[in-house]
């Protein structure tokens, strides 16, 4: 299937190569002294590193020549490619070439060309792409260019939704903390003991005798009162409102009667005694 042909002399038959020579660059800052530097680029990586700052200008000049004859050529394609390997941002800048093959390019950071891509801390790899019909194309690595960092490339507002989003956790309100049970218990004891002791003390001194504690007139009344309080206590513990109201209504009627009776009897006694 795969046809393999050996052409030992095929290399001679191919078109002439393009190349760039007398590649020079110089960095012009506000205060002159252009130090021109020439370099001889080739296809594989170049170790050359160029750094320009906001107020500087990079001047680059070269001549496109036919590698064989060495005379200038004006190619269709003479591109400078700026490429940031980290962000993958790329910018292509065509360069004007005179008919003699001479080309110049100025990169002033004051007003950079629109082709200059966003740059981070990483360098921009600058590559020279030469292509012309009837010549074999040439790709030359010029240098790594450090330019002042810019904002990252703008992204669509919805872009983050198309990638993993940071996790979120809800911050909860802290629970109210209770005092140590010991203190609560202590105060409970206080509430229960102190008043009662005093009350008992006082009542023993002033309280009247209770001769008619179990008299049939009084007892029902007291009983119903106890029942009422017990009902309310039960309400606190585990009764529903409806039940309490119904029971309470019934109990209320009972209490009214017992109460009238009891109090009437007391009144009789009192009035009787006072006569």
């Amino acid at each position: 299937m795969k046809a393999i042909i050996f052409l030992l002399l095929a290399a001679a038959a191919q078109a002439a190569k393009l190349s760039a020579d007398s590649v020079k660059y110089s960095i012009i800052s506000s205060k002159g002294e252009p130090n021109t530097k020439s370099l001889s680029p080739n296809e594989d990586l170049s170790s050359e590193v160029v750094t320009i700052s906001q107020d500087q200008t990079l001047k680059l000049s070269f001549q496109v020549v036919d590698k064989a004859t060495g005379k200038g050529v004006q190619p269709e394609q003479a591109f400078l490619r700026f490429y940031d390997e980290q962000s993958g941002e790329e910018g292509i800048q065509p360069v004007r070439v005179t008919s003699s093959g001479k080309a110049k390019f100025d990169l002033s950071m004051a007003k950079p060309p629109s082709s200059l891509p966003p740059s981070s801390t990483a360098p921009l790899k600058v590559t020279l792409l030469l292509g012309a019909s009837s010549y074999s194309p040439q790709k030359l690595e010029l240098f790594d260019l450090y330019v002042p960092a810019s904002h990252p490339a703008p992204v669509h507002p919805d872009e983050p939704k198309f990638h993993l989003l940071p996790e979120l956790v809800h911050t909860f309100r802290p629970d109210p903390q209770l005092p140590p049970r010991a203190i609560s218990a202590l105060f409970t004891v206080l509430v229960l003991v102190v008043p009662w002791t005093i009350l008992c003390g006082l009542w023993f001194s002033v309280a009247p005798r209770v001769p008619r504690l179990f008299s049939p007139n009084i007892l029902p009344f007291t009983a119903s009162l106890f029942a009422f309080e017990y009902l309310l206590y039960q309400y606190w513990v585990d009764l529903k409102l409806g039940d309490v109201l119904t029971y309470g209504a019934v109990l209320g009627v009972v209490t009214v009667f017992t109460g009238r009776h009891a109090l009437a009897s007391i009144a009789d006694r009192r009035l009787g005694s006072q006569k």
Partner: protein, 152 residues
């Protein structure tokens, strides 16, 4: 003898609040009338004496009986309040329920005291002793209903 002592304490408990407060207040009053302050305290102490004496002698025992119950309520109220202020009032409804149960009971009992006090018979023409007690019971039960409802 014991009744005396006890009634004293029962009598001057309410007056205690008066007795202590002037001391706290004295500085401020003394600004206004420096000379009179000493005499004021003097007369105060003397009047307190008479107050106790008259109380113990003139108050019918039934009122003393009521007063001691009032004192009981005041005490338990004070303790609960101090707990609420010093330690925690966190289940605020419970605090309100417990505290206002004592307050309410106190007020109702005090009303009862007023009504059965022979001295203000004239004021309460329509409220006899028994009627007064019935009112007291009714009010207390309503109060306790709300207290337990609110206790949480």
């Amino acid at each position: 003898m014991p009744p005396k002592l006890s009634t004293q304490s029962s009598g001057n408990k309410p007056s205690l609040s008066v007795h202590t407060s002037p001391n706290t207040l004295n500085p401020t009053t003394s600004f206004s009338t420096k000379p009179s302050s000493s005499s004021a305290t003097l007369s105060l102490s003397s009047s307190l004496q008479t107050l106790l004496k008259t109380y113990t002698t003139q108050t019918p025992p039934q009122l003393k009986f009521i007063d001691s119950f009032l004192l009981f309520l005041v005490l338990s109220g004070v303790i609960q309040f101090s707990y609420g202020v010093l330690i925690t009032g966190f289940p605020f409804n419970a605090f309100l329920a417990g505290f206002s149960s004592t307050i309410g009971q106190f007020v109702l009992t005090a009303s009862l005291r007023q009504q059965v006090n022979p001295e203000n018979r004239l004021e309460f023409k329509e409220v006899g002793r028994e009627r007064a007690f019935a009112d007291f019971v009714f009010g207390s039960i309503v109060l306790h209903f709300f207290v337990y409802n609110f206790l949480g």
